[in-house]
Amino acid sequence: MTESAPNTKMSARDVKVFYGEKQAINGVSIDIDMDNVVAFIGPSGCGKSTFLRTLNRMNDTIASARVEGDITLDGENIYSSKMDVVQLRARVGMVFQKPNPFPKSIYDNVAYGPRIHGLAPNKAELDQIVENSLVRAGLWNEVKDRLTESGTALSGGQQQRLCIARAIAVDPEVILMDEPCSALDPIATAKIEELIHELRGRYAIVIVTHNMQQAARVSQKTAFFHLGNMVEYGDTSDIFTNPREERTRDYITGRYG
């Protein structure tokens, strides 16, 4: 896995992440393409979130974090000084574990990204973007009559879909999701999983999950992380039925984690 596949959107080469002295990721290389949903699985603390955040430089916000190695988006190194991190994050959107809508109206939540990036020259187009995003996030029918209500007044599952709508409103190329369902009940979870299915192909999607069933359900490719290493990366069906590595097998069968 040192050469990029033809349809590769992002690729990481020998990425190491340090928190101060402590190394949290020990040289991970991976390619993410447009066609598949990639799931990161692994026991708690293995570095899934850490690695995910290197992909849109959200770890810049942690003073002690330091990244080595190369990560490219469409062949461009995202850690080069020429890369504008604000633009990068617009292109690589993120959805967080806990739904975190802004304490603003539903409309403003979704419109925020398009506004700061100047994606809509006028109000009508902005309305259109908001509506499209909410529709695609499967939330439109539930909120179309109350767009001015606060985003925080929605239920957890709705909030998470609102966050997804907010992320897709800036029309990113990649969407990173860090355990997007762990705070949700089964019904809300099902909705989000369905949504991921629908979004597939339009965006490159990476999802971190601690729930193997979920990984099996939503992803086409799975990466298994353990103690800061990416132990195995391959088609989801292979990983779950026929893992190459001992550790993967142990984890999948519930020996630990």
Partner: protein, 458 residues
């Protein structure tokens, strides 16, 4: 044209620049949003910044020199030849003339000014015009320069944000400046003071009787021990004897016993005590408490009770400090983990036993830190002691006698004689420095204690 009008015009020009730059940048968006680096409005801000900031800086500088230029122009005229040579009188006439040139209805005090007024009007108008023109030129030049730099890949947002960051940094530097200002102003004067009085005498001498008499380059009567004692006696002993029990018990009652309703009302009421200005406490102490204490003392047979007793000032100061102690104690008690309280209650301890034997000991570092902060506040308090404590530098432990404090003496020394070189003025600064250092140390120690204690339970 007045400078306000010019400023408004420049602001208007800035706005126009903003609009144009934004519109121009808007045209860059041809191939989708990814093709430009920054939003059009950032280009707008960038250009507006270039248009406005240099022009305004220039105007500020110009406005500080233009009046002088105007005056020189007036002085060059033959009419000015008859002006008196004395600079002060001359200045007064000139400034009256200038006022007259602005408002002809003013009452004329100096007739010479009347002739000069039109000249002034003329000169001022001329220099204002020059300044305005230059400012507008700068405004245009800046705007044009910025305009030429606008390009699809121009990082306008980064530039604008860098300016904002610079502003933020400058704002926080003011804190350092203020601290430096304090330290410098205190230290310079104190060093001068210690040229006249030995630090040893100042810190350990017991005779406080300051005077301006300097004999052989030495001043006497600056032994500050009685002041230190008075300060400690009032602020750290009497006031704390009031504030600690009342504040601590209030906090205990409000956190442990009171119903939420009572707590909701009583907490703000106690906080009001901290919001009452000290001059009011001082007046209250002097008007009501001190005479009452004096007659009380007389009633129980203390003959030489003074009306400005240490007790009166200390009591009232103690009341003022109650909310400080109680809110710190409140925080500390709340910071003790509930498991600690539950552990004790589960042993069959009563509430008061739990509070006395588990909660308060566990919260003690926090409470002590709070008390130290309160002490530092009390010894720096000025108005209560100025109004209610005495002026006699006594070394006495009799609470009905009059003592004086550091802050009282600072006010005494500085509100009278205001000559900056007399030993008495300098002594005020030496006292101020002492006070500064002591309160600083108290605070550092207190914050350290509180911080360590917070960490212990996190």
């Amino acid at each position: 044209m007045t400078s306000t009008a010019i400023i408004f015009l420049i602001a208007g020009l800035g706005l126009i620049t903003w609009v144009f730059a934004r519109a121009r940048a808007g045209k860059f968006i041809t191939a989708g949003p990814a093709s430009v680096h920054s939003l059009p409005s950032y280009h707008g801000w960038y250009a507006a910044m270039w248009a406005v900031v240099p022009a305004v800086i220039f105007l500020v500088v110009w406005n500080s020199i233009a009046p002088a230029l105007g005056s020189y122009a007036v002085l060059d005229s033959p009419l000015a030849a008859s002006l008196p040579t004395d600079p002060f009188t001359r200045a007064a006439i000139l400034s009256e003339a200038r006022d007259l040139s602005r408002d002809a209805n003013l009452k004329v005090f100096n007739d010479a000014a009347v002739q000069l007024a039109p000249l002034y009007g003329e000169a001022d108008r001329r220099y204002t015009m020059i300044g305005a023109l230059a400012a507008f030129l700068l405004c245009f030049a800046g705007g044009a320069f910025a305009f030429t730099r606008l390009r699809p890949d121009f990082r306008a947002r980064t530039k604008v944000e860098r300016m904002v960051m610079l502003g933020l940094l400058l704002a926080s530097l003011i804190a350092i400046l203020a601290t430096l200002g304090i330290v410098a102003s205190l230290i310079f004067e104190t060093i001068r003071f210690f040229n006249l009085v030995s630090p040893f005498e100042f810190l350990f001498g017991t005779n406080w009787n300051p005077s301006d008499k300097v004999v052989d380059g030495k001043a006497t009567g600056f032994g500050a021990v009685p002041l230190f004692w008075g300060t400690v006696f009032i602020g750290a002993i009497i006031a704390m004897a009031v504030a600690i029990p009342l504040g601590l018990m209030s906090a205990v009652y409000l956190t442990q016993y009171a119903s939420p309703g009572v707590r909701r009302w009583m907490k703000p009421i106690l906080e009001i005590l901290a919001g009452v200005p000290t001059v009011v406490y001082g007046y209250f102490a002097a008007l009501t408490v001190a005479p009452a204490l004096r007659s009380f003392a007389a009633g129980i047979g203390i003959s030489n009770a003074s009306s400005e007793s240490a007790l009166a000032a200390g009591l009232v100061m103690g009341v003022m400090i109650i909310p400080f102690v109680s809110s710190m104690a409140d925080d500390s008690i709340n910071a003790v983990p509930n498991s600690m309280r539950d552990g004790s209650l589960a042993m069959g301890a009563t509430k008061s036993e739990t509070i006395k034997q588990v909660l308060i000991p566990a919260a003690l570092p926090g409470v002590v830190g709070g008390v130290l902060l309160a002490v530092s506040r009390a010894i720096g308090e000025t108005m209560i002691v100025v109004m209610a404590a005495g002026l006699s530098a006594n070394l006495t432990a009799n609470p009905f006698a009059s003592v004086t404090t550091v802050t009282t003496q600072i006010v005494q020394l500085l509100t009278g004689d205001t000559d900056f070189n007399s030993p008495m003025t300098l002594a005020a600064f030496a006292l101020g420095l002492t006070l500064f250092i002591v309160t600083l140390l108290l605070n550092i120690v207190a914050l350290q204690i509180v911080k360590r204690y917070r960490e212990a339970y996190d």
